[in-house]
């Protein structure tokens, strides 16, 4: 597979007002990769994602995207106005803004919508209002919209936030399948065990990139403490790292043990 560079961030800083949100970021995304950005809230995950997408200005440094890069963006489901009067079909077709001047959805487009929905396993919902969908279906519809443009890279902001365990599994498997088909995926998440530990490459972010590599390399107590500013323990479970938040009581016990 061609694994050329798709996106190269060099010395990137972004500000919000006067306060720097991300600072001196170096990050390269290659074709065919599946990358997760992890970090606590306020660490600049979403800002960095938006800078990569081109919707947040870059204060310093540069973000180079390969020419004619098509990005498919899936926003957090919490930011969607679920009461907005649109059907699933309308949501997906609205991304085709240039091919037609007449508003009506053409037969070709309807077929293309069905192809994408079928691929994501929700072929039957195309005529429904977006409010009438389950959590997993909602996430899939917005994934379908991003896929409809046949993107080079899929960008997802917190795809598992606010969803139940079953939906989280569904999303994870779906993304793994899409990645296996050759799609490049970049996402942010705060879900270390449910999502991040399953990805091939993780980037730990807290204003700066603190670590970048496989979960085994990145999910270590040292890196996690540097990222989250709180002590964490890492266990091994089923060949994968499993992060637990060190409770205060355990800490005290450790200190006592250390003293004695």
């Amino acid at each position: 597979m061609d694994n050329s560079e798709l996106i190269v961030c060099e010395h990137v800083s972004c500000t919000y007002g006067n306060a720097p949100v991300v600072d001196d970021i170096y990050l390269t995304i290659n074709r065919g990769e599946f990358v997760g950005i992890v970090g606590p809230s306020g660490s600049g995950k979403t800002t960095l994602l938006k800078a990569i997408l081109g919707t947040h200005p870059v204060a310093h440094g540069s973000i180079k995207r390969v020419e004619h890069l098509q990005m498919g963006y899936v926003p957090q489901v919490e930011t969607v106005d679920w009461y907005f009067p649109v059907t699933v079909e309308e949501v997906i077709v609205m991304t085709r803004t240039k091919s037609r001047w007449w508003p009506r959805i053409s037969a070709d487009e309807r077929e293309a919508v069905h192809t994408v929905l079928d691929r994501l396993g929700i072929g039957e919902v195309s005529q429904r209002h977006i409010r009438e969908l389950s959590g997993g279906q909602q996430q899939r519809v917005f994934l379908a919209r991003a896929m409809f443009r046949q993107p080079d890279i899929l960008v997802l902001d917190e795809p598992t936030s606010g969803v139940d365990v079953r939906t989280r599994h569904e999303i994870l498997h779906l993304l793994a399948d899409l990645h296996a088909d050759g799609l490049t995926i970049l996402l942010t998440t705060h879900d270390l065990n449910g999502l991040a530990a399953h990805l091939p490459r993780l980037v730990c972010l807290n204003k700066k990139v603190l670590a970048d590599g496989t979960p085994h390399l990145v999910l270590t107590p040292e890196v996690l403490e540097a990222t989250y500013g709180a002590p964490m323990e890492v266990l091994e479970h089923g060949g994968m790292p499993f992060v637990i938040d060190s409770a205060r009581s355990t800490l005290r016990v450790n200190k006592i043990v250390a003293r004695t």
């Binding site: 926003p75 106005d81 907005f84 009067p85 949501v91 609205m94 209002h129």
Partner: protein, 283 residues
């Protein structure tokens, strides 16, 4: 027979014929743009813009500039200003709009009381008047209506996309700021050509109520775009006739009819639609 004659009686007056044509087209136009107003939470901007245009109308009357030229330019400039201010979050868009538009409104009031024929014309501008409607107004409202329909048809998906999901639209190559500016310019123009008949104070109701009523009967964006203008145009047409026979203010009658339809739909559509209304929280 007598009833029919009675019904046709107002049509013997030229001012009424002109007035009802302008009102009906304006009602449809406001219904069309109203869809974007309610879905984007722009009702306060509509309210503010009508007040800003009032300042422009007064200034152009004093400076003896053509109303459409003077007030139109004023309205477009305030529209663009509002769009720019609304993007900065330091003051809060609503406060900024409040400052820009009420200042403009106050300027209009001051100019009219100093130089105008005082109270009578002020009342006409505030509450609308069918008496002063001329052929020029029909031409103006027709042109804006044609532009409005063209913009909505040609820009349908881009307008829908940027209204529904601004960030993703931007990533997908839609020039969302241009779309916002376009809508604000259309809104300014609509207010400009509607103001003389409906009046400054009641225009925002005509922008909000038909679209809100239509929203309760449909879940489809495309259907909303024709149901809302039909409600707007029909209430303006019926309202104008009713106002003549009941000897009430035309604009007040139209808005009351709109409100009546809203209440009727709200009561009739039941709880299911009340859930839909949650999206209109800002209206």
């Amino acid at each position: 027979m007598l009833l029919a004659l009675n019904f046709l009686e107002p049509y013997g007056f030229q001012f009424f014929r002109h007035g009802i044509v302008v009102a009906t087209i304006a009602g449809g136009l406001c219904g069309l743009l109203g869809v974007f107003v309610i879905l984007r939470g722009m009702s306060y901007i509509g309210h503010g813009l009508s007040h800003a245009v009032f300042g422009g109308a007064a200034a152009s009357a004093v400076l003896k500039v053509n109303y459409f030229l003077g007030a139109g330019l004023w309205g477009i400039i305030s529209g663009v200003l509002i769009a720019r201010v609304a993007r900065r979050r330091v003051i809060g868009a609503d406060a900024a709009i409040g400052v820009v538009t009420t200042a403009s409104f106050a300027l209009g009031l001051a100019l009219m009381s100093r130089y105008g024929q005082a109270s009578r014309s002020i009342e006409a501008v505030l509450f609308g008047s069918v008496l002063g409607v001329k052929m020029g107004d029909i031409v103006a409202v027709s042109i804006v209506a044609v532009i409005g329909v063209t913009v909505v048809v040609l820009g349908y998906r881009r307008l829908l996309f940027s209204t529904f999901d601004r960030d993703v639209a931007q990533v997908s190559g839609v020039r969302v700021s241009a779309m916002e500016a376009l809508l604000l310019v259309m809104l300014s123009l609509t207010i400009l050509v509607t103001m003389r008949v409906i009046g400054t104070l009641l225009i925002s109701a005509l922008l909000v109520i038909p679209a809100a009523s239509a929203r309760m009967v449909t879940n489809s964006f495309s259907r909303l775009l024709w149901i809302s203008p039909i409600i707007g145009a029909a209430t303006c047409f019926v309202g104008m006739n009713a106002a003549y026979h009941l000897n009430t203010s035309a604009s007040a009658t139209i808005i009351l009819l709109d409100a009546l339809i809203f209440v009727g739909v709200y009561a009739f559509a039941g709880t299911r639609s009340r859930v839909k209304m949650a999206s209109l929280g800002h209206v």
